[in-house]
Amino acid sequence: MNKESLSESILEIRDLTVHYEVGQEVIKAVNHLNLSLKKGRTLGLVGETGAGKTTTALAIQKLIMSPPGVIKSGTVDICGNKIMELSVKDLELIRGSVVSMIFQDPMTSLNPVFTVGEQIAESYMIHEGIPKKQAIEKAMKMLETVGIPRNRASEFPHQFSGGMRQRVVIAIALTCNPQLLIADEPTTALDVTIQAQILDLMRKLKEGRGMSMIMITHALGIVADICDEVAVMYAGRIVEKGSLADIFNHTKHPYTEGLFNSLPNIRNRSMRLIPIPGLMPDPAHLPAGCAFAPRCKYAGSDCTAEQPEEHWISDSHMVACAAYGRNGFHIERHEK
């Protein structure tokens, strides 16, 4: 079935399903998701708002707020740790040391009442058990690693700009050399030049440490820039995944095609953008068949009946689209 799971993998997600139960409604945020990531690789998790990207990221660390969140099924394996079976104490040991997370908004993800030095040092104190003085010293070193002068360790978050705060957030995430870094739209709140700086910094640090990374984003440009692999999410499912080349040059899924068609083309500026018609279905009332079928121009009767199977185009490239069961089906997007 799946051929990726063999060599040294950092992350294995199997059949992950997360629901939010709000009153009578059940919001199906993530549905039967499978994903794996090898050491040193960067995975781009792409999808529009509400596709379940952040929920997946939180579920990986069992951080879903309950209530209303419920992890219905699935296993998550990070470096051999079966996350779903661990006690709260063990989870606390793993979070921040084996797996770390960077949040979207650097303006709110730092505690306003502590200096940045103290906030970085806190992780050292907890995970490495070193005294405060030594931890602050290490925190200053870490600040320099992310390009902030060490003497600013004694300043408060409100004295930093957005880009610098995101650097601090990255510093905190990297304190204990995690195996896996989950970055949840780390550059969305920043302007474009700072975005480039932050991405550069993350790539450099990632390569220096041999970390794996999950980059959650809806910007395909960032994916092309920094990722090795891509998984496209739609309505809580992965509709297509593969290497960067698989997805960008040999697009298979109609939804992925739609995403690319709605991007401006730099070579042909007069070309009209083709938006995907309609909206993502309400995650509380997902259709029985393919969730994308109502918006899909290739949809046939086979699409609405049941969930599409996974079709493996190559060893690395998977597409969940029923149309690939038809003979000779291909999408319109020209292969580069």
Partner: protein
């Protein structure tokens, strides 16, 4: 005067010439400086602060200022019921004790009861409030319903019950008033902790592997401090009133001690003929309560970011 104007002109010129520099310096001012600047603008708050400082001074140095055995509790019948005069600015009471000395010494009782009672109430209330605000669900429901029950009993009645059950002593009085001030601390802390707990840095604390205990008490609580500080200050004022009321009823500090409420109670019999017996302790209570309320209001304005600038 002229010199001052020149200074101001120079400062304005500097602002106009180098706006970036000034704003940068402004941004680098620490939070406490900012709060102090805001606080200083409020005249009432300054009056409150000065009054509280004087009261604290009186309480700390009461032993130096007056002779407890002779002036405060020493009975001297020949000097009884003297109206305010040069020797006794506030007059003397029915046992010939100098009222000024007693009022001065009474600061010690009122302030210590106020502080200790509020610290008891705050310690319990803030802990449970923070837990209730951080955990939604069952823990919150249980804590808040218990708080409602505690808050439903009139506080004076509650004080009377606790003091009569445990016996009249200064510490029991503090305990009684402390317990009655728990609900307000629970509510105010829960409300703030609720909004702080939903912020990203709490989530990232969880993602960094911090324990819930650590997140509640080291991350959420420090961000809830300003309303708690304000509440504490205001609550001291009402604790002082509560202490005086209970002492007035004979349920507070044991008799010879110059507690203001107890002094009012003694003076009550002479209120038509010798009003100075009740006037001065009454004034002392009023001024103390006013001082803490002014200070509390000033702190609230200075600490509330919405009211700034």
């Amino acid at each position: 005067m002229k010199n001052k104007n020149i200074h101001r002109l120079a400062r304005d010129a500097e602002k106009a010439d180098a706006p970036i520099l000034v704003s940068e310096r402004y941004a680098r001012r620490s939070q406490s400086t900012e709060i102090w600047i805001q606080f200083r603008r409020n005249k009432g708050a300054i009056v409150g602060l000065v009054l509280v400082a004087i009261l604290v001074f009186c309480a700390l140095f009461a032993d130096v200022l007056v002779d407890y055995d002779n002036d405060v509790t020493g009975i001297n019948i020949s000097q009884k019921l003297i109206r305010p005069c040069r020797a006794h600015p506030f007059g003397t009471d029915d046992l010939g004790r100098d009222i000024l000395c007693r009022v001065l010494y009474g600061t010690r009782y009122s302030l210590s009861i106020g502080f200790v009672a509020v610290i008891i109430g705050m310690a319990i209330g803030v802990t449970f409030g923070a837990i209730a605000g951080y955990f939604s669900g069952l823990a919150e429901d249980i804590i808040m319903r218990l708080t409602d029950i505690l808050g439903a009993v009139p506080s004076t009645l509650m004080g009377i019950v606790i003091v009569s059950a445990l016996g009249a002593s200064t510490f029991n009085l503090m305990l009684a008033i402390g317990i009655t001030s728990i609900p307000e601390f629970v509510r105010i802390t829960r409300a703030t902790a609720l909004s702080v707990s939903r912020q990203d840095f709490v989530e990232s604390g969880r993602a960094a592997g911090f324990s819930q205990k650590r997140i509640i008490f080291f991350h959420v609580l420090p961000n809830c401090l300003s309303p708690i500080i304000v509440q504490t200050t205001l609550r001291i004022a009402s604790a002082i009133i509560a202490a005086s009321s209970l002492s007035f009823l004979g349920l507070g500090v044991p008799v010879p001690a110059p507690e203001w409420g107890a002094m009012l109670s003694i003076g009550r019999q002479y209120i038509r003929t010798y009003p100075h017996l009740t006037l001065f302790p009454g004034l002392a209570i009023m001024i103390t309560v006013l001082a803490f309320n002014l200070l509390g209001d000033g702190l609230r304005d200075a600490l509330d970011p919405k009211l700034r600038r």
